[in-house]
């Protein structure tokens, strides 16, 4: 039996596990006390969006049934602290759902054993399932943030095989760590070396020109921002510093291994942002470059601005950006300290409903609000594809846009998704609207009002209540009435915002 066949058997077993044992796994989660929809949970009731719902809409992918109680019990700050220490959160129920994806545990060089379709699908399903089910929600939110920031397109060259290790060893390993470590790991990640042509960046002869692709994006997108104050000259100099770093190809021995080849390195003196990097430092050039750019004030400002755009609003208030940038600088680029500062600004608290959910957040938050059981099969992923935000499908290194403009054209898909979800018309995904209504304590016949409260985090407006009630009433039986009521609530304009 060859290794490849062995893996195939393993994959078949895993497939069995997904289909046959889904229910058992979910039950086991119940037994562990942290899976599925709780038997009883409370919903918000005020005229304005509940503060806890606002927090969960931004610092999580929306509330899972029962999350409101958790925030109430710990208090806002307590909940944020708990989230900032993910290792202390029992996440077994989620791990049980996602451990089946074998390709996620391989070394980069061993990834090529898998078919492209398998590695793509496993990573994508894993990413969606983690976002839906992990109790470490803020961590997952930051995984999404950094995946945009250090965007890699699954379709370029052999990135499909190298992306899972990048997600694991770069993004997930450092999502809550030090910013410089994150950038350094990304710089030497096989997937990034392939995606931005770093592995082709070499100087073996005097007239050879370095490939400046990665150097440019490092400055423009990963650290300082396009108006951060660097010049074309700096891009070229950084590219020179990084010559010689490469990653072995699929057809080579020790494939995907990252190496520094002194013979391909430009070992002359360089000047980056006015600072001299003396000749002869070889692979230490990289460390010098990272020291210079990560500590540059433009980097603190740029990261702060992006965080504020993600967590607060599309046009981030300069007052909040300044506070967050200061936290970044004061902590030496500590991501947790920076996040703590972001979430404790008054601007964050005041920004209720000002963000338009991007498709990924919309889909995940709908699944969470509905307490859905999903295996994130292709039937579900297709909706993300149609809305233009399937994970790892953004072709260019700037990552998916954060602002609402480009996403406003996706409404029809959202409507269709919402109705399909609550009518159990998406393969591998089910919603128990009766169980949900019972657990929130909705009296029979008043589901429309209760679903509005639950999903929007506030009392429905008279017009909303009336419209949802009317649409529900157009169905013939209680099951369809509940499906239509929850579906329309999730399709409503208020649920598109957070």
């Amino acid at each position: 039996m060859k290794r490849r066949d062995f893996l195939k058997v393993g994959a078949a077993g895993a497939a069995l596990a997904t289909s046959g044992c889904g229910k058992i796994r979910a039950k086991l989660g119940d037994w562990l006390g942290d899976g599925g929809v709780p038997d009883a949970f409370s919903v918000a009731a005020g005229a304005e969006t509940d503060d806890r719902v606002h927090l969960l809409n931004r610092a999580a992918f929306g509330p899972w049934p029962g999350d409101l109680e958790r925030v109430a019990k710990l208090g806002t700050e307590g909940w944020i602290e708990e989230q900032l220490n993910p290792a202390g959160i029992n996440d077994i129920a989620c791990t049980m759902r996602t451990r089946i994806f074998e390709s996620l545990h391989m070394k980069p060089g061993d990834m090529y054993e898998f078919k492209k379709k398998v590695v793509e699908e496993e990573l994508t399903r894993y990413t969606v399932l983690q976002a839906v089910y992990s109790k470490r929600q803020l961590y997952e939110v930051m995984v999404e943030f950094w995946s945009d920031h250090f965007n890699i397109h699954i379709g370029k060259a052999d990135c499909a095989w190298l992306l899972a290790p990048d997600q694991r060893d770069t993004i997930r390993a450092h999502a809550f760590g030090k910013f410089r470590d994150l950038v350094r790991t990304s710089a030497l990640s096989p997937a990034m070396l392939v995606y931005l042509d770093g592995r082709e960046n070499r100087k073996r002869k005097p007239d050879e020109m370095p490939n400046e692709n990665y150097a440019r994006e490092l400055l423009e997108l990963h650290t300082m921002g396009v108006h951060g104050g660097y010049t074309q000259r700096d891009v070229m100099e950084v590219a020179r510093c990084l010559t010689g770093w490469t990653c072995r190809k699929e057809n080579q021995l020790r494939k995907a291994r990252v190496e520094f080849h002194a013979g391909s390195h430009d070992d002359g003196e360089k000047t980056v942002l006015g600072r001299t990097i003396p000749a002869g430092l070889k692979e230490q050039d990289l460390e010098r470059v990272l020291d210079i750019v990560c500590a540059h004030p433009s980097t603190a400002l740029y990261i702060a601005e992006k965080l504020c755009r993600r967590f607060i609003e599309d046009t981030p208030p300069p007052s909040a950006v300044a506070k967050v940038a200061k936290a970044f600088t004061d902590s030496g680029g500590d991501i947790r300290a920076t996040l703590r500062a972001t979430l404790s600004t008054g601007e964050f608290r005041a920004a209720k409903g000002r963000k338009f959910k991007r498709p990924f957040r919309f889909v995940v938050s709908a699944l969470r609000a509905a307490g859905a059981e999903t295996e994130a099969r292709p039937a579900l992923l297709k909706y993300l594809q149609s809305m233009g935000q399937a994970p790892f499908q953004h072709p260019t290194p700037d990552g998916y846009p954060d602002e609402q403009g480009p996403w406003l054209g996706t409404l029809m898909w959202r409507w269709n998704f919402a109705l399909a979800l609550t009518s159990n018309a998406i393969g591998g995904t089910t919603v128990d609207t009766a169980g949900l209504a019972k657990a929130m304590g909705a009296p029979a016949g008043s589901e429309p009002e209760w679903f509005l409260r639950h999903a929007l985090g506030r009392e429905g407006l008279p017009m909303e209540k009336e419209t949802v009630r009317e649409f529900a009433a157009s169905a013939s039986d209680p099951w369809h009435r509940r499906a239509q009521a929850l579906g329309l609530v999730l399709a409503s304009p208020a649920f598109q915002k957070c």
Partner: protein, 394 residues
């Protein structure tokens, strides 16, 4: 009749309706920075062959092998673009060379954004240039399908347009087909979105109106005209959809189509040949499919920048400055390369080795909007830019 503002506007627009209808403008964006110097080869430039020893496309007068197709004794078409030759011979295709924007960052995103906004961020003018075109020409009485971005998301070019729609494929554009009552759903959504804040209300209302129109179109099967064979690609499929919308007369005035993947830092020849074929065969099929209707269509092909004059060591090219634009259409004075050629000798190039921009791409867009799209206030579309027509149209 009571003279309300609405009626007045309608009368104004009715009067305008007596004028010849506007062209449909199809904007093709080659994303990633297409290598203008290899798409349309300046084969009389000795420096071109010196700077591109392995990537340069051979002169048309080479006895054999891969070589450029002579256009005007000075420029040659990349053989992978040969499907465009018919359009050229028909004099319906003009080429603008050494054209570009004033962006200096050589960043894809800055350059694409800048080109699509067609103004610096600092000016405070918002939205894309096509969006401003529509803002300044009024929308009363115009179709909800007047502006379409083919793809899952709206391109920056149309950002801020009073009416614009991202349309990936209209065969998939339908409302909850499986739900018990799509009509009841449409009614409920109309009510909820009607009461939402402006952006969402507009987007929701548009989606609902378009659903109605496309429901009708979907009933029909489509066979391209003139035996046109589109390439089996995303680009080809987008162009078919645009052609269908044009021929169905649903009021389409502008469509944006992307062709991605032109960022050829590495192994350029392999990547760029299939892209060029996709582009040329797609446009050739589009023209054939439209037949007589092509008279009322203008196609503009652009990219955020060209690529460096010299090749890099990975058989690729890095981000440069000037590139090439194609303008095709029934009214185009074609069969001409329009250029103020800056030259490629040392001293003629811009640091660190790029073809200089001698024609602003907005000159081209402005001429299209003014001559073919009924734009009377061009300075509001491209504020603060000295514009010059380049004789693309009579």
């Amino acid at each position: 009749m009571m003279m309300t503002r609405r009626n007045l506007l309608r009368m104004v627009f009715d009067a305008e309706a007596a004028l010849p209808a506007r062209d449909t403008l199809v904007c093709v964006f080659l994303r990633g920075g297409a290598d203008g110097l290899n798409l349309v080869v300046p084969f009389e430039e000795k420096a071109y062959y010196k700077l591109r020893p392995s990537l340069g496309v051979a002169r048309p007068d080479q006895p054999s092998g891969t070589k450029a197709m002579n256009l005007d004794g000075r420029f040659g078409l990349n053989p992978a673009l040969s499907a465009l030759k018919d359009l050229w011979d028909e004099k319906a295709l003009a080429i603008v060379h050494a054209v570009g924007s004033d962006d200096q960052t050589r960043s894809h995103f800055e350059a694409q954004d800048l080109m699509e906004r067609a103004t610096a961020l600092e000016t405070g003018v918002s939205g894309g240039w096509l969006a401003r075109h529509f803002q300044t020409t009024g929308t009363e009485g115009r179709s909800p399908l007047m502006a379409v971005g083919m793809g899952p998301r709206l391109p920056e070019t149309l950002r801020g347009a009073p009416v614009a729609l991202a349309l990936e494929s209209f065969d998939e554009f339908h409302l909850a087909r499986n739900s018990a009552s799509p009509e009841a759903l449409a009614k409920a959504l109309e009510r909820l979105y009607g009461a939402a804040e402006t952006d969402l209300a507009n987007a929701g209302g548009q989606s609902l109106r378009v659903l109605g129109t496309l429901d009708r179109l979907r009933q029909e099967t489509y066979t391209p005209g003139g035996g046109a064979a589109y390439p089996d690609s995303e680009f080809g499929r987008s162009l078919i959809s645009v052609a269908r919308l044009i021929k169905a007369g649903v009021g389409l005035e502008a469509a944006c189509v992307d062709l991605n993947g032109w960022d050829t830092h590495f192994g350029q020849a392999v990547l760029i040949d299939s892209l060029q074929r996709d582009l040329a065969e797609g446009l050739a099929a589009f023209r054939r499919d439209l037949g007589e209707t092509f008279k009322r269509v203008t196609v503009a092909v652009m990219s955020e920048f060209g690529r460096r004059a010299y090749e890099n060591t990975a058989f690729g090219t890095d981000h440069g400055r000037a590139g090439v634009m194609f303008v095709a259409g029934g009214a185009v004075r074609g069969g001409r390369v329009i250029t103020e050629w800056p030259g490629m000798e040392p001293g003629q190039l811009e640091e660190p080795g790029d073809l200089r921009v001698t024609i602003d791409y907005r000159d081209v867009l402005a001429e299209i909007l003014e001559k073919r799209q009924g734009q009377l206030q061009i300075s509001r579309v491209f504020p603060g830019v000295p514009l010059r027509h380049r004789g693309i149209f009579a």
